[in-house]
């Protein structure tokens, strides 16, 4: 039986391993240099904030791997010998494989700022980054976080939970400006300030200044301001972690290049998750998409191919979620920061400033295109179906009550939302009473 080796024990690699094991007995080995066992990277922040211990972030107990006959190796792969199907390891003996899955994830971007090598400067991606943060914040009173995205907000929330003052430098004119429309971005900006984040929009890092002992003392911004800090968090995105692959013969660009079957240019070598760059991006998607959910779907997909059922990657309608301090965010379909000519939108915001929804539809066909929701939970399955079936905006708005996923006894705003939607658009959508949601599912 073919021996399958997976480099990387994150969500993509582990999902692949689990799905292969479900349907086959072939040997599986997962190699990681980060942690011995799979943990949920998305939960790193909760360890630092004291909501969980490291062991609570592990989705499977430690006996799981042996019981399921999945071998684990805690070592670092130095290079891939594709000719001999062999991995050179940092400490242990070389590892042979029949099929290889690259699931090596990402690493934080560093854009060559002066001083970025100083003590106290770090990104936030790996377990090692978390350990470094714990070390770095022992003596920290002030922090500067650079980069207006999700990891930046998480890092700000983490630091603030320890009473560290945070200045947040965001290059764009609005928070998460390459993803969120202005209204949503403003809502989150207000919320960040409510949590005492010193948010600086249109501000960039220029250089990081040494205290004379190799430790961060302050940063200088592009506008010439000096900000005292003992830690600088660089959260300006992540890039595929592929340095050790570059000279192996596996074709890479910014990431490991794959076709729609997640196959690389080398026979029997596949890639999944953050490290992947599609030669041709799936319809409507980016060539590199570093999201938990897509990593999981790629893991499921490649498992099918390895099991002999060659399966193309079709991620389905886009969805994502996040949490900004107290405000939850979900999105289904596409709500882009700038709307195209054929797109109309409607934005509703609660007077408390902590809830909003933003819907987008095609103004010639009335086809529903996407929804952003903050502070209100919505049902994934219904929106997934509506997006696949090209449902109309009228249908979506009329069924908002059924699509709500908030806990019982919550206040509901669907009547108000639809009334304002009708006033805004001149449509006359009649909101339907809440029914059991599965009655709206067609399959």
């Amino acid at each position: 039986m073919d021996k399958i080796v997976i480099i990387g024990n994150g969500i993509s690699g582990v999902t692949a391993a689990r799905h292969i094991r479900k349907n086959s007995d072939q040997p599986i080995l997962i190699i990681s240099a980060e942690t011995e066992h799979f943990f949920s990277r998305t939960a790193l922040m909760y360890i630092y904030m004291g909501h969980m211990r490291f062991k609570d972030t592990k989705p499977y107990e430690d006996w799981f791997w042996e019981k399921n006959n999945i071998d684990l190796l805690f070592d670092f792969v130095q290079n891939i010998d594709v000719e001999n199907k062999m991995l050179q390891m940092k400490s242990g003996a070389p590892v042979l494989y029949d099929k290889l899955i690259l699931a090596t994830g990402s690493k934080p971007n560093m854009f060559g700022w002066p001083g970025q090598e100083l003590n106290g400067v770090q990104g936030l991606y790996s377990y090692q980054d978390l350990e470094k943060l714990e070390e770095n914040t022992k003596i920290t009173k002030e922090a500067v976080v650079v980069g207006g995205g999700l990891i930046g907000v998480e890092l700000a929330e983490m630091l603030i939970s320890r009473g560290i003052n945070v200045t947040f430098l965001v290059r764009e004119a609005q928070f998460w400006g390459n993803v969120l429309p202005e209204q949503e971005a403003n809502l989150i900006s207000d919320h960040l300030r409510e949590h005492h984040v010193d948010l600086r929009l249109n501000e960039e890092l220029d250089e990081i200044i040494d205290d004379g002992n190799g430790q961060v003392k302050q940063v200088k911004t592009k506008s010439g301001e000096y900000i005292d800090c003992q830690i600088v968090g660089l959260t300006v995105g992540v890039s595929p972690n592929i340095d050790f692959i570059r000279d192996s013969g596996v074709e890479v660009d910014r990431g490991v290049l794959v076709n729609e079957y997640l196959e690389t240019n080398v026979q029997d070598i596949y890639a999944v998750g953050d490290c992947v760059q599609f030669k041709q991006a799936p319809a409507g998607r980016k060539a590199i998409e570093q999201v938990w959910y897509t990593g999981r779907i790629m893991g499921e997909t490649v498992a099918q191919t390895i099991l002999g059922k060659r399966t193309a990657y079709h991620p389905g309608p886009w969805f994502n979620s996040a949490k900004f301090f107290d405000i939850e965010y979900q999105t289904y379909g596409w709500v882009r920061p700038q709307f195209a000519a054929n797109e109309s939108d409607f934005f509703w915001k609660h007077p408390n400033g902590k809830m909003c929804i933003h819907v987008v539809w095609d103004n010639s066909t009335d086809e529903f295109i996407g929804i952003n929701t903050f502070g209100i939970r919505l049902r994934h399955e219904l929106f997934d179906q509506w997006l696949k079936n090209k449902a109309s905006i009228q249908l979506v708005m009329s069924e908002l009550k059924t699509a709500n996923f908030d806990p019982e006894f919550y206040h509901h705003y669907e009547e108000d939302i639809v009334a304002k939607f009708n006033a805004h658009t001149g449509m006359s959508v009649a909101i339907k009473p809440k029914k059991w949601w599965q009655k709206l599912m067609t399959n």
């Binding site: 969500i11 799905h19 479900k22 949920s40 998305t42 939960a43 909760y46 904030m49 004291g50 909501h51 969980m52 211990r53 609570d56 972030t57 989705p59 107990e61 914040t137 022992k138 920290t140 009173k141 939970s161 320890r162 009473g163 560290i164 003052n165 949590h195 005492h196 010193d198 999981r296 779907i297 499921e300 997909t301 399966t311 193309a312 990657y313 079709h314 991620p315 389905g316 969805f319 979620s321 949490k323 301090f325 107290d326 939850e328 979900q330 939970r377 919505l378 049902r379 994934h380 399955e381 997934d384 696949k388 996923f405 908030d406 806990p407 019982e408 006894f409 919550y410 059991w436 599965q438």
Partner: protein
Amino acid sequence: MAEINLSISGRKAQSLNLVQKLGAIIGLVAIGIILITWGGLTFKNNVLWLSLLLSCIFIGAIVYTIGTYKGKTAGIKNDGVFHRSHTSRGVVGWAAGIVFTAFYIFLYWYPEYLGYASGVEGTNQGLVALFDPLSMFFKGKPASQWFVYGTLYTAIIISLGIKFIVKYRNNRYQVTRTIVVIVSQLFLAYLIPEILAGMNYNDAVDASGQYLGWYDTDIKNVWPLDYDFFYNWHMDAMQAPAYQPLGMTYLVWGIFLFAIGTPIITYYVGKRWYCSWVCGCGGLAETAGDSYRQLSSKKLSAWKFERWIINLVLVFVSIMTLATLYGYFMNTNSLFGLDIYAYFQKPYGFIIGAAFSGVIGVGFYPILGNRVWCRFGCPMAGYMGLIQRFKSRFRITTNGGQCISCGNCSTYCEQGIDVRAYAQKGQNIVRSSCVGCGVCSSVCPRGVLKLENGPEEGRFGNEGPIVLGNDGFKLDQ
């Protein structure tokens, strides 16, 4: 910047702020009064000191709550839970566990050391005497250790229930549920029974000095949790002529609630209607025990143990009660030559009624989590659990593929359910042990979990291994 950190470094174990310290000191005064009277000191003016004790419990909790949450936005408040000794099985946690456990041991088996009837001619001293004025007020007789326990229990559920409401004020399910918990404890479990006793409908003595017996007048304390419901003395008391028509009403109600009410309500909404909305044990667990919910074991081995032990307790209480009923109707003290009290009632009362539910169930809150009794021991939970698992409309729905496997849901499940194991596969959570507290749904950062009642069809959610978000293929098709 409204809040400026003046310390020289980031603080890991957040120190208490001034208001929190004040609240803690007031709370310590209450604990001090309990400890010194427990230690044997009898106050001359019990009215004054009891008023001080109860005031300190309420005011201390409220001041501490203000100090903890004032100026904080509404949202999840779990920062530092695993950094604090008290809530992460540190020294403070262990110390609290030892004190709680000791209190229960004295309460059940050595009430004289709490001062119960330990004075001249059976008068109360110490801690029990402290509660005499309140007991006299309700029913014209001195306190028992159970009156002390009931009063403190209610005061703690109210005061820490208020703290819980403020902590979870972003979540209307939690707020609504906790108001019901407080009202149930205060009225159904405490005031109504004490007032009925005061009106001589219970626990009374007739004109000739003959004691007429006692029965449970908490309308929600139902068999099998109320395991002595069918005991001879309890049955006799409910039928005592002086207590009518109330006594018979309780007898009929008790049987109705167990046999008809419970299965029907549990079918429609799950066992949560009882366990996390009205039950007294659940009420204490949800309020006083909220700080310890993360300590329950999520191991598969714990679940395996749970399934054996809770169902065995249900079998045990059923056999014990059948023996009791046999004895009652056959007018005999023995079954198969075995004394019903010595071989059935006494072991159950000692092992399950006292040691398990009290000493381990509450005493070990800071070590094993706040629902040890409810999860492993409670026969009522076991009974409703079977209904919830096999014939109910209740489930926790997983929202498609939105789970990120972070583990907050599992960590904060007081019943030790590995919620994440289901959620990350897109499966719904249908488990006999779920008490429906709703905290998994509250702490989920991605809006993945919802407690809801719906048709039994499709109740388990996604049964395939593929979670939502890939329309490229389906397995086994």
